[in-house]
Structures are given as structure tokens and as C-alpha cells.
């Protein structure tokens, strides 16, 4: 009960900020609960990720209790990678998703050695990891070396903006963005870019922290994110602000239904989403035909 009260109090603390926010100029965008100018958001997000890059994996494990590994596994199993695939992982600087895709493809290849999947298909496999933040990319590159994938030709590290990708039209079989789309300034632009680079039959998959609607669990989750996570951030990474931003940005992200309709508006077909852990994260998927 005390918990419920605490979270309710917390919400009432927040709501005045929310209502004043809507009065601001329309070119403003959200940075957590703060309203900032569009050009500033990019810089501020970039600062956040530069700050957290070194502790990123540790903090992910601490905050999600290791669950983020399962979520990423689920994402990759939904993607259903295949040898010869051209895949683009956006905002995947630390390579978590990319390594999983590569592992899946290698295991498929081992399994169906004699059939049509010849070696030339494996050679054609390309996984592009695109991230706007060089610090995050460096973390990923180092991890690739640690895993013995330093010389792997299939992995390409690209520094780039999700709103203006440097890839050609119709060039990708798959597009994933895990815990990234929340941090961009224009979600619509990112979706439009995803649609542009995908081939016909290519799939868009998005793993993102989302909204919990289960009654009691919601209160618990709110308490956890507003009280525990910033404290954890301070304790483990010595950076309260960045993690405060993290939880606020989750609340500002569109709801599952709203985001699904945004994906459909970008032109994708067969748009679906799946809630994991009651909506703490959701996997949205779309198909380009």
C-alpha cells in the first residue's frame, strides 16, 4: 500500500511538468520529461550514451536482472536469420543483437551443411551495425575482438544516423533496432528510412521498453523505475542523470498500439507486436512487401 501511495505521489509530482510541457513551442521535442529544442536532443542523447558506454552492459544486466539477454534472444528468434542475409542493426553499438544473429546463422549453416546453403551464401552474409555514437561502437568492436570475431568479414561497423541511413534503397533483408528508437528525435523519419533500405519481403523488428498496463505490476514497475533505477545508476555507474533520462524517455515513448500504427503508417504490412514481461518491453514487427 505504501508503495502504491509512493508511486501515486510520484505521478502527481510529475503531472504538472507534463501539462506545462504541452504549452511549449511545437518545434520542441522531449528529452525525458524535459522539453528541449530538436537540435539539442541529439546532442543531449549523445552525451548520455557517451557517459554510459563503458558501463552499458553491466548496467543492462543490473537493471533488467539479466532479462535483456532473453529479450534479445527472442528478438533474434523472431527475426529468423538465414545464411546469405543482409541485415542492418541500428543503434546496436555494443553488438549484442548482431552477435546473436551471427551465431544463429552459423549454427544453421552447421546443421544443413549438405543442402543448398553453400559456402558462397555464407560469404554473402552481411551484418551492418549502425550507431550514431562512436563510443558505443568502440565498445562493440572491442567485444567482437574478445569473442574472436575481430576478423569476421560478415560484421561491418558503421557510424551513422538512423534518420538518414547511408545504405542504398532495397538493400537489406532485415532491420532491427533494439532499445534505440526511443532516443531518436523523429521516430517517423527512422521508420521511413527503415522502409526505404529494406528489400521487398524484408522485415522490420523493434525491441523497445514499453508501457505496462497490468494494474498492480504497473505500480511496482513505476516505483522500480523512478526510485530504484536512478539510485542504481548512481551506485554502479556514478551517473544518476543519464538513468533518470532513461526511465523518463520510456514513459514518453508512444504506447504499443500507437507505435504499431506509426509503423503501419510508414508502409509496413502485417504489423504485430508482442509484449514481454507484461509490457516492460515490446517487440514490434512489420513486413515490407
Amino acid at each position: 500500500m505504501a508503495l502504491r501511495l509512493a508511486s501515486r505521489k510520484l505521478r502527481s509530482d510529475i503531472s504538472p511538468i507534463r501539462s506545462s510541457a504541452s504549452l511549449l513551442h511545437s518545434h520542441a521535442t522531449s528529452f525525458g520529461y524535459r522539453e528541449v529544442r530538436e537540435e539539442e536532443k541529439t546532442r543531449m542523447v549523445s552525451n548520455v550514451f557517451s557517459n554510459v558506454a563503458s558501463n552499458y552492459d553491466l548496467m543492462n544486466d543490473v537493471m533488467s536482472g539479466g532479462l535483456h539477454r532473453l529479450w534479445k534472444d527472442r528478438l533474434v528468434s523472431k527475426l529468423n536469420p538465414f545464411p546469405g542475409m543482409k541485415h542492418l542493426d541500428v543503434a546496436g553499438g555494443t553488438g549484442d543483437v548482431a552477435f546473436r544473429i551471427l551465431e544463429t546463422i552459423t549454427s544453421i549453416r552447421r546443421r544443413v551443411r549438405q543442402s543448398t546453403f553453400d559456402d558462397y551464401l555464407q560469404d554473402e552474409t552481411r551484418i551492418y551495425v549502425c550507431d550514431i555514437n562512436p563510443n558505443m561502437l568502440n565498445v562493440g568492436k572491442n567485444r567482437a575482438v574478445e569473442r574472436g570475431l575481430g576478423e569476421e568479414k560478415s560484421l561491418t561497423w558503421v557510424e551513422g544516423d538512423a534518420e538518414a541511413l547511408s545504405f542504398e534503397d532495397l538493400s537489406m533483408d532485415g532491420y532491427t533496432i533494439a532499445f534505440g528508437i526511443r532516443n531518436v528525435t523523429h521516430i517517423e523519419k527512422v521508420l521511413a528510412e527503415a522502409y526505404r533500405v529494406l528489400k521487398r519481403g524484408g522485415r522490420f523488428l523493434c525491441l523497445e521498453l514499453s508501457h505496462v498496463e497490468v494494474p498492480v505490476f504497473k505500480d511496482l514497475y513505476d516505483y522500480y523505475s523512478f526510485s530504484v533505477i536512478p539510485a542504481l545508476g548512481e551506485l554502479v555507474a556514478g551517473d544518476r542523470e543519464s538513468y533518470q533520462y532513461l526511465v523518463e524517455s520510456i514513459r514518453r515513448f508512444p504506447s504499443q498500439e500507437k507505435f504499431a500504427s506509426m509503423i503501419a503508417d510508414a508502409g509496413f504490412q502485417k504489423v504485430e507486436y508482442e509484449n514481454l514481461v507484461g509490457g516492460v518491453v515490446a517487440i514490434h514487427s512489420g513486413l515490407k512487401i
Partner: protein
């Protein structure tokens, strides 16, 4: 849009998993060779138009065998692309090594390459291989219904003959895939797929009984379907290990089973009459006995 693409993919994938070994059915040859012919029957033209309407890049039209050949060969192997001209079904077979992929994701991936969409689309089928098998089952059922609707010859047959003829027509559709059919059966028997495969079989049996002209709505309805289900399944299994030319043994086996079933029906009928007669006889003698007792 998605449905059409998925359907096309599955129909091509079905072709790609057929066996190259024991080809005994006359039309197996055309099925395997004539990718183009078959995909025309799933109406690529309408698909083509649809994609035009929505301002997207259309699929390569596949209504012409030459086109089909060039698209498939360029997407499957880079070496065999210069042979587009004058490719009939037979020639086409010789150019590309026939690969037996079975009812697998690989067949679906290769099917999607054939129709020119990214194999990533396979990830949208929730139960992967099962989708392929179920598509084939639905397709066969549709073909059977078409055959029933058009077949004047069926109406002149006796009910028992009609049943075995229909089961035979349906099972013959599986002959091109017979070496991989056990795999399909095992996919259908997997727990997540059982509801659909059961339903599809029930629909098939319904359709056959309907064609025979059965309109029972009592207990008989269940009995009839159960009996036919048994006959169908057991013949299907028998067929898997049948090595006689043109599955002659299978069809003989099927005829016997149908005959058995009709005999059984007759036997039950006779037993019923007998019981009634005996009952009546017993009843009258019992009455006589009781009367004698009370008349005293």
C-alpha cells in the same frame, strides 16, 4: 498483399521440396519441372496488378516460362543465368539440378528467392514448416473439390466405388512428394500443429462424404467419418512403403478396406435385424409364459 505473397511463396516452396527419385505419377514430372506453369495457376497477374496499384515495384511477371527461368536461375545460382531462351519444362529440369529440400524452412527460403522476395519473409510464418504442409493440404483439398465439381464420371459410380475413387484422387496428389511425406506427417503430428492438421483432415473427410451424397445428421455421421478417417489414414501410411508400380498395391488395399467397411455396415445391419427378430420371438414366448402364469 501479404497473403498473396505468402501464398505464392508457399506454392513455389511446395514444388521445391518434391522428390527427384521415384517419379511414378505422370504429372509429377510436369509439377517439378513446370514452376512457371504452376505459379500461373496461382494467378500472378492479379498480384502484379495489385502491387502496381499501390505504387510499389511489382514482382517480375512469371506467366512466361522464359521469364520464370531467368529469375529463378539468377536468384538461385549465378552460373546458370545465360540460358533463358526457349526453355521448356523439360529443358528447364535439365539445367537446374533438382534439389530435394523436403518440408523445411530451406524450401521456403528457396521458394521466396524464386519469386523474388527476401527470404526474411519466412520469419513471418509463426509455425514455419507447418505453414508449408498446411498450405499443401488446403491446396489439395481445393483441387479435390474442383475435381468433384467437374467430375461427371463420379456420379455414375456406386457409393463404395465413389469413396475409394475420391480417396485415391486425393492420395495421388501426394505421390510427387511421397519420399518426403513421412516428414510432412511428422510435422502435422507435432503438438502445436495437431489442431490444424486434425481440422484439415476432418474437412477432407466431410468433403468426401458430401460428394458421396451423404446427408446423415445423427450418430451415423460420426461413425461414418471415423470409419473413413481410419481408411484414409491407413491407406496413406500403406502408401509410404508401397514400391509397386503406380502404387497398384495401395489402390488394391484401399478398395479392400472400403469393401470391408461396407460389409461391416451390412453385418451390423443384419445383426440388428437378427436381434430384433430374436427379441420379438423372445417377447412373445415370454408373454405367453406370463399369461399362462397369471391365467391360472
Amino acid at each position: 498483399m501479404y497473403r498473396t505473397a505468402a501464398k505464392r511463396l508457399l506454392s513455389v516452396a511446395t514444388l521445391r521440396n518434391s522428390s527427384n527419385g521415384r517419379l511414378r505419377c505422370p504429372y509429377a514430372e510436369t509439377l517439378i519441372g513446370g514452376v512457371s506453369r504452376f505459379s500461373t495457376s496461382t494467378n500472378p497477374q492479379s498480384f502484379y496488378n495489385q502491387s502496381h496499384n499501390e505504387d510499389q515495384i511489382p514482382f517480375p511477371p512469371v506467366d512466361n516460362p522464359n521469364d520464370a527461368d531467368s529469375t529463378t536461375s539468377s536468384s538461385t545460382s549465378s552460373s546458370a543465368s545465360s540460358t533463358a531462351e526457349g526453355a521448356g519444362a523439360r529443358r528447364y529440369q535439365r539445367q537446374r539440378p533438382r534439389i530435394v529440400l523436403g518440408w523445411t524452412q530451406e524450401a521456403m527460403i528457396s521458394g521466396s528467392r524464386d519469386i523474388g522476395v527476401s527470404p526474411a519473409i519466412v520469419g513471418t510464418f509463426p509455425r514455419k514448416e507447418a505453414a508449408l504442409v498446411e498450405f499443401f493440404m488446403d491446396d489439395c483439398l481445393q483441387r479435390l473439390i474442383d475435381r468433384i465439381d467437374s467430375g461427371e464420371d463420379l456420379r455414375s459410380l456406386m457409393p463404395s466405388q465413389r469413396i475409394s475413387k475420391l480417396v485415391r484422387i486425393r492420395l495421388e496428389m501426394q505421390t510427387p512428394y511421397i519420399s518426403k511425406w513421412p516428414q510432412a506427417l511428422s510435422i502435422q503430428a507435432q503438438p502445436p500443429n495437431i489442431p490444424t492438421s486434425f481440422k484439415q483432415r476432418a474437412m477432407l473427410l466431410d468433403e468426401i462424404w458430401h460428394a458421396v451424397g451423404d446427408e446423415a445428421s445423427d450418430m451415423d455421421w460420426y461413425v461414418k467419418r471415423t470409419v473413413l478417417g481410419g481408411i484414409y489414414s491407413i491407406t496413406e501410411i500403406y502408401m509410404l512403403t508401397d514400391i509397386s508400380p503406380d502404387f497398384r498395391d495401395t489402390w488394391a488395399f484401399l478398395d479392400d478396406r472400403v469393401k470391408d467397411a461396407f460389409d461391416l455396415k451390412k453385418t451390423i445391419q443384419e445383426a440388428k435385424y437378427l436381434a430384433e427378430t430374436v427379441g420379438a420371438g423372445m417377447g412373445s414366448s415370454l408373454r405367453g409364459f406370463v399369461n399362462r402364469v397369471f391365467n391360472r
